[in-house]
C-alpha cells in the first residue's frame, strides 16, 4: 500500500515512468476509439434532434424518405449505442485494463483494425437504415450485412483484453477488472447469439421478441453497465486519493450483478403474449437487482463522504459522481417498473423512453465523459485547454438530461393513465403530450450544445492547445486541499 508520507523520490519517479509507458503504449488505438466515439455521438445527436422535432412538428423535413421518423430514430439509436457508448466501452476497457494490469499494450496496430471494422459497421448501419435497409427489430435494427463487422471488431478487443490480463504484473484483480473481463466475455456471446437467433437462423413467433428483449436489456446490463460501474470504481478512488469504502461490498455487488441482471430483460414484455412464468421470473430478477445496486450506491457514496468538495476541482469527478448517483436512481426505478401494476400505466409510453435515456445518458454517458476527462490528458500528455468549455459541457449535459427525464416521465405517466381510460380519445392524448415532446427537443438541443463543447475540447487537446502535463495534477480555480 502506498501512502504519500512514506515514498522515496526514486520510487515515485520509477512508478510514474512505468505508468507513462503504459499510457504511451495505448495512446494510438485508444485515441482512435475515443475520437470515433465522439464523431458518432455528434452524428447521433443530430439524428436525435431531427427525430424529436418530428414528434411535435410532423411536417418538419417531410418529403425526404431517408429522414422519416422511423428511420431517423433507428439511425440515432445505432449512432449512440453502437457508435458512441460501445466505442468508449472498448477503448476505455483497453486503457483501464493495461493500467490495472500494469502492463503495456501488445500489438496495438491490431486494435486499429478493430476500431476500423467497428466504424465501417456503424457507418453501414446508419446509412443502411436511412436508405431503408433497417430490420425493424429494436436495438438490432442494423442491416443484415453489419453484424460481421461488429463481431470481428469485438472479437479483437475481447482477445486483447484477455491477453493483457494474461500478461499482468499486478497480482490482485481489482473490481474494475472483474467488470471489464465480464463485459468482454458476456457481450460477444450475447451479440452473436442474438444475431444468430434474430437474423441468421430466425426464431419464429413469440421466441423472437423474447430473444430481442433479452438482448436489448442485456446490452445495457451486461455490456455498458459493467464497464461504466467499473470505471466509477476506478476513477472515484483514484481522483480523490482514497481507497474504495468497502472492497468486500464492491465484489459482492459484482457477483450479484452477474447473477441477476441477465434475468431482467423479459420485464419489457409484461402484458405481451409470453409465458407468465417468464415475465414473473424476470420481475424477480429485477427486484434482486436491488442487491448490487444498493451495494454500489453505498460504496460510492461512502467513498465520496467528506470529499464532495472535490467536485469543485475535478471535471472527471463531477461527471463520474453524477453518473454514479444516477445509476442508483435509474436502477431503483427500473426494478419498480418491472412490477406488473406499475407496468399497466408506464409500459408503452414515453415514461419508458425517459427511463432508457436516464440509464444510457444520465448514468453511462456521464461516467464515460468523466473517463474522457481523466484519460485523454494522460494519453496526449496535454491538459484540457479550456475550463469554460468543460463547464458548458457539464451544465448542458446535466440540465439537458434532467429536463429530458422530468418532461417525458411526467408526460409519459399521464399518457399511460389516459391510454387506460376508454373515455379519453387518442387524439386528445396526442395533443396533451405536445408540450412534453417539445421539452424533449429543448433538452436534445442542450445536450448537443454540450457535445459540441466536448468535441471542441477534445480537438483542441489533440491539436496540442492545452498545457503540457508535468506528471502531477493541475488545478483550476485554486489548489485543492490535500487529504
Amino acid at each position: 500500500m502506498s501512502t504519500a508520507t512514506a515514498i522515496l523520490p526514486h520510487d515515485r519517479e520509477r512508478a510514474a515512468a512505468e505508468r507513462a509507458g503504459i499510457d504511451e503504449s495505448c495512446r494510438g488505438p485508444v485515441l482512435y476509439f475515443a475520437a470515433s466515439a465522439i464523431f458518432w455521438l455528434l452524428a447521433g445527436s443530430i439524428l436525435a434532434i431531427i427525430a424529436s422535432v418530428k414528434l411535435h412538428s410532423p411536417y418538419f423535413l417531410t418529403g425526404i424518405p431517408e429522414l422519416t421518423f422511423g428511420r431517423v430514430r433507428m439511425a440515432h439509436l445505432q449512432g449512440v449505442s453502437i457508435g458512441w457508448t460501445s466505442m468508449v466501452t472498448m477503448g476505455g476497457s483497453v486503457w483501464m485494463m493495461c493500467r490495472l494490469c500494469r502492463t503495456e499494450l501488445i500489438y496495438p496496430k491490431l486494435l486499429y483494425v478493430s476500431a476500423t471494422l467497428w466504424n465501417i459497421g456503424t457507418l453501414l448501419s446508419i446509412s443502411g437504415i436511412l436508405l431503408g435497409d433497417g430490420q425493424s427489430i429494436e436495438w438490432l435494427d442494423a442491416p443484415r450485412y453489419c453484424p460481421p463487422f461488429f463481431i470481428a471488431g469485438l472479437g479483437i478487443v475481447s482477445a486483447w483484453v484477455a491477453a493483457t490480463f494474461r500478461r499482468r504484473r499486478e497480482k490482485h484483480v481489482y473490481v474494475t477488472q472483474w467488470y471489464i473481463l465480464a463485459a468482454v466475455f458476456w457481450f460477444p456471446w450475447l451479440y452473436t447469439v442474438a444475431v444468430f437467433m434474430i437474423s441468421w437462423s430466425p426464431a419464429t413467433g413469440v421466441v423472437q421478441p423474447i430473444v430481442n428483449w433479452w438482448f436489448n436489456h442485456n446490452f445495457l446490463g451486461l455490456w455498458l453497465t459493467p464497464v461504466a460501474v467499473g470505471t466509477a470504481y476506478y476513477l472515484i478512488p483514484k481522483i480523490i486519493g482514497r481507497p474504495v469504502h468497502s472492497y468486500y461490498l464492491s465484489i459482492t455487488g459484482f457477483w450479484a450483478l452477474a447473477l441477476f441482471y441477465s434475468w431482467a430483460g423479459m420485464h419489457h414484455l409484461i402484458g405481451g403474449p409470453i409465458p407468465a412464468w417468464l415475465a414473473t421470473a424476470s420481475t424477480v430478477g429485477s427486484m434482486m437487482m436491488f442487491i448490487p445496486v444498493i451495494a454500489v450506491g453505498i460504496n460510492h457514496h461512502m467513498t465520496m463522504r467528506n470529499h464532495f468538495h472535490r467536485l469543485k476541482y475535478s471535471p472527471a469527478l463531477r461527471f463520474t459522481v453524477f453518473g454514479s448517483i444516477t445509476y442508483t436512481w435509474v436502477s431503483f426505478q427500473g426494478s419498480i417498473e418491472s412490477l406488473k401494476d406499475f407496468s399497466e400505466v408506464a409500459h408503452f409510453t414515453h415514461y419508458t423512453v425517459a427511463h432508457a435515456h436516464l440509464g444510457a445518458y444520465g448514468f453511462v454517458t456521464m461516467i464515460f465523459f468523466g473517463l474522457y476527462y481523466y484519460m485523454i490528458p494522460r494519453l496526449t500528455g496535454r491538459e484540457w485547454a479550456s475550463s469554460t468549455l468543460i463547464r458548458i459541457h457539464f451544465w448542458c449535459a446535466s440540465i439537458g438530461i434532467t429536463i429530458y427525464f422530468v418532461g417525458l416521465s411526467i408526460g409519459g405517466w399521464w399518457q399511460g393513465r389516459m391510454l387506460n381510460n376508454p373515455d379519453v380519445s387518442f387524439a386528445s392524448i396526442t395533443q396533451y403530450l405536445l408540450p412534453y415532446l417539445f421539452s424533449r427537443t429543448v433538452a436534445g438541443i442542450l445536450l448537443t450544445i454540450g457535445h459540441i463543447a466536448f468535441a471542441t475540447s477534445f480537438l483542441m487537446n489533440l491539436a496540442g492547445w492545452g498545457k503540457k502535463r508535468a506528471g502531477g495534477p493541475t488545478y483550476f480555480v485554486e489548489k485543492a486541499p490535500t487529504v
Binding site: M1, S2, T3, A4, T5, I7, L8, D11, R12, R14, A15, A16, L100, E170, H172, Y174, V175, T176, L181, F185, W189, V193, M197, S201, P202, T204, V207, Y234, P237, K238, I239, I240, G241, R242, P243, Y247, S250, I251, W255, R310, Y313, S314, P315, A316, Y373, Y374, E383, W384, S386, S387, I390, G466, K467, P473, T474, Y475, F476, A480, T482, V483
Partner: protein, 62 residues
Amino acid sequence: MNPANIAVFAVVIGSIVLFGTATIMALGWAFRDGQFDNFEQGAASIFGPDEPIGEPTDAFPR
C-alpha cells in the same frame, strides 16, 4: 422439431452450459488464487508510489 428449431435449441443450451461453466470456473479460480483473502490490500492496489493514497489526481485546467 425442424432444423431451425434444433439450431436455436442448441444455441440456447450450449450458451447456458458455456456461460455457467465459465462463471463457476472464474469464481473457483479467484478463490484458489487468494483474490478474496485480503480486501483492504485489494482496495489499495490501484494506488502506487507515483499516485499514492492521500493525493488527488485530477483537477480542472488552469
